[in-house]
């Protein structure tokens, strides 16, 4: 067989390790979530078992035949008790509309209060809550037709306002007459709409997503699918990339360039000048018919109009040369050589 692509057995062998790790992670996540119990909801959430949650009062209400409906938009409240945990998050007009339609409304600590008191055990002091007796109340003081617990619980028409939500929490439900008070407030009718407003209720503005037609949204989603499929098409190679061993390529002149840099860094102008002079002498001697190694100065002086001493100085002077002098020397040597070639 010449085939080298992985068959199903090899794919399984390669993939089972990562697959096992994935399953273990998933299993661990499920176990941890189950052990932690429901972390759902914050304070005054009828599903929450936490101390500040309200699972206990919801259970009590259901045992007494009240249907508890948790909602975040409260569309149908007709004939029901409406319990609003954060009335300030709702548009006042909508709240008025809702409480008009509901049989009874309980608002928890709206921002319409006239003063503040510390939460604590208070006596009712009014017929409305006489049966419940002392309860944990306080928080905000309101004005209204019927006032109880030092005006921290007032009723105007069907709307009851309470300044502190302690009586509904799992933690405080069993102390004093809290449970009785909570049941009398929320259990007035067969249905209780437990309204936990979301942030969107306050703004009342529709988001971009709400305004775009569904066709566009899902069309965009489908476009994403098309993009992914196109990417998969382009990403799949037709066979692997072929590696190749390449020979090492070194430019042969690299050592010469290295030496030039060394000269320059150490400012070896004198040495470089001597090398250039030697090279000029080596080139000039055969031009003039002299054996290699012989001094061509006199012969040059005879052929050109230059005095011997200046030619000799140019070709032999070992005096100190600086960087600028070196460039000039190279040019002078070239000029001399050209003169001899022409002459």
């Amino acid at each position: 067989m010449t085939a080298v692509s992985p068959d199903s057995r090899r794919i399984w062998t390669a993939a089972r390790g990562p697959l096992l790790i994935g399953v273990v992670v998933l299993f661990a996540a499920v176990v941890i979530t189950l052990l932690r119990g429901t972390g759902e909801g914050g304070s005054l959430d009828p599903r929450s078992y936490r101390p500040e949650g309200s699972r206990a009062v919801a259970a009590l209400l259901e045992r007494n035949g009240v249907r508890v409906e948790l909602t975040d938009n409260a569309s149908s409240v007709k004939g029901a008790t409406l319990f609003v945990t954060q009335p300030d998050l709702i548009d006042p007009r909508r709240l008025a509309d809702l409480s008009g339609r509901a049989a009874a409304t309980v608002l928890l600590a709206p921002a319409t209060g006239v003063g503040r008191v510390e939460p604590g055990t208070r006596q009712p002091g009014c017929p409305l809550a006489a049966k419940a007796g002392a309860a944990t109340t306080g928080g905000v003081v309101y004005e209204g037709e019927q006032r109880c617990y030092d005006s921290t619980l007032v009723r105007t028409g069907t709307v009851t306002t309470i300044g502190y939500g302690g009586i509904f929490t799992n933690r405080d439900l069993d102390s004093e007459g809290n449970a009785a008070l909570a049941l009398s407030l929320l259990g007035q009718h067969e249905r209780l709409v437990w309204y936990v407003p979301s942030a969107a209720d306050r703004s009342q503005q529709k988001s971009f997503g709400d305004l775009v037609p569904a066709g566009w949204k899902f069309g965009a989603l489908q476009l994403g699918v098309a993009a992914v499929l196109t990417a998969l098409w382009r990403a799949r190679r037709l066979g692997r990339v072929v590696p190749e061993r390449l020979p090492v390529l070194v430019r042969a002149a690299e050592t010469v360039e290295g030496r030039a840099r060394l000269y320059r860094r150490s400012h070896a102008a004198g040495h470089a000048a001597e090398v250039l002079r030697q090279a000029a002498r080596d080139r000039l001697a055969p031009l003039l018919g002299l054996p290699a190694g012989e001094d061509p100065s006199e012969e040059i002086a005879r052929r050109t109009s230059r005095p011997v001493t200046s030619v000799r100085a140019l070709l032999h002077d070992n005096g100190p040369v600086d960087d600028r002098g070196l460039v000039a020397l190279a040019d002078e040597l070239d000029a001399l050589e050209n003169e001899v070639r022409k002459g």
């Binding site: 080298v4 692509s5 066709g215 699918v225 993009a227 196109t230 190749e244 360039e257 090279a279």
Partner: protein, 429 residues
């Protein structure tokens, strides 16, 4: 498996379906399900790739830079195979087009031709053959690779063969097969023949003429059946890249070109060529080399990062070359020769004629001519020093009776061949 562009296109059409008809999660899912169904149908109905069998035929060697054809036969035992096939080679193998559309009927076979133009000398091997077999809808394909081994040996290009005709012309002049006025062309007595007008009167053999009714001249021919041993240095210095007319090539490649021209010339003049590639040990060896065997031996040679072992090389040459021969060493004139080769020269020079051919670097010559600013002048000084060193080495070698040919890469093959011919004409072989 692999998807095709059609899968993306289908999903794009799905945008219209979702956007206009079914703007919901269900719509997206329906379109996706249709896509998955198409892909599944294609994958199930596409011809299997695993059971395909392949075989190759065609060129096994080609001159570097020239075109050759390697054939690949696909045999399909399953149902009809449609799709794309890629025959992957290393980049320097220079495959002109490595992907072709394939359509093989059930149980049939097809032969595909791939054109190769290797850009680098050496053995170029095939990598994998990958087949992408399309399904009937053309949305998805099965894909798999096979190993179908094949090697094409890219031979040295032998660019300098264009110099061969004029060199052979000169060789014939030496040979006396053409009328020539060159005196002393050849040193071996060949035969006697009748005088014709134009022959040199000094070549008349008076004693033979006295015995015959005609005037008879002696003819001479150049030496033949001499031994030429070519030693190619594949060590450190042969790796250096030198710019020539054909771009930057390692010195090794230029040396090979020169060696090929020399051996072609030598075999035409009926000399016997022994070839030896040497670094720190024997890399390749072709005794009584004919040109085809020589290029085959040279093709896979690469420069190595080791020092040339002159002592071992000299020992090897002395062991092989029984009688007096011309030993041509293709190397680089570096100062290391002074310590390596120079002390051994008397042993070689006493029995053989040694000719060293070296590739000069045009970059160094260009640097030596640099003027103007400080950097150029320092570079010129460094280059002059290198050139002076080479001149010194050439003189030193000449003093030991060694011929040196030091030429730029474009000129070296011709220069070496010319030197060989002049040695032959002078009867120094």
């Amino acid at each position: 498996m692999a998807l095709t562009g059609r899968a993306g296109l289908l999903a794009l059409i799905g945008v219209l379906v979702v956007g206009l008809l079914l703007p919901s999660w269900q719509g997206v899912l329906v379109v996706f399900a249709v896509l998955v169904a198409c892909v599944a149908v294609d994958l199930v109905l596409a011809a299997g790739v695993r059971r395909l069998t392949f075989s190759r035929a065609g060129a096994v060697s080609v001159r570097t830079g020239e075109l050759c054809v390697v054939e690949l036969t696909v045999h399909n035992p399953g149902r009809r195979l449609r799709g794309v096939l890629r025959d992957a080679w290393a980049p320097s193998a220079g495959v002109v087009a490595d992907r072709v559309a394939v359509d093989v009927p059930a149980g049939g076979s097809r032969t595909l031709s791939f054109e190769l133009r290797p850009v680098r000398r050496g053995d170029r091997t095939a990598d994998r053959v990958t087949m992408r077999s399309l399904g009937p809808l053309g949305v998805a394909a099965r894909q798999g690779s096979h190993v179908v081994p094949w090697t094409v040996r890219a031979l040295p290009p032998f660019h300098s063969r264009r110099h061969l005709p004029p060199l052979l012309e000169r060789l014939r002049e030496l040979d006396g097969r053409r009328a020539s006025l060159i005196r002393g062309a050849g040193t071996e007595f060949d035969s006697l023949r009748t005088y014709v007008i134009g022959d040199d009167v000094r070549s008349i053999d008076w004693r033979a003429s006295a015995r015959s009714s005609d005037v008879v001249v002696r003819t001479w021919r150049p030496e033949r059946d001499r031994q030429v041993t070519i030693v190619l240095d594949t060590a450190r210095t042969s790796a250096g890249r030198v710019e020539g007319a054909l771009g930057g090539l390692p010195r090794l490649d230029t040396s090979m070109d020169a060696a090929l021209l020399l051996s072609a010339l030598a075999s035409h003049s009926r000399d016997q060529v022994d070839f030896l590639a040497f670094s720190h040990k024997v890399r390749a060896s072709v005794p009584r080399a004919a040109l085809p065997a020589l290029v085959q031996a040279m093709a896979p040679l690469e420069a190595e990062l080791v020092e040339f072992d002159a002592r071992a090389a000299v020992a090897e040459v002395l062991r092989r070359a029984g009688r007096r021969s011309l030993v041509v060493l293709l190397t680089s004139l570096e100062p290391s020769i002074e310590h390596g080769l120079l002390p051994l020269l008397p042993a070689v020079a006493s029995r053989h004629h040694l000719l060293i051919a070296s590739v000069a670097d045009p970059a160094v010559h260009a640097m030596a001519a640099g003027r103007g600013d400080l950097e150029a002048v320092y570079s010129a000084a460094a280059a002059e020093r290198t050139l002076a060193e080479r001149r010194r080495l050439t003189a030193l070698l000449a003093r030991h009776g060694v011929d040196v040919v030091d030429a730029l890469p474009d000129d070296l093959p011709r220069a070496l061949a010319d030197r060989y011919l002049s040695l032959k004409a002078a009867g120094k072989l």
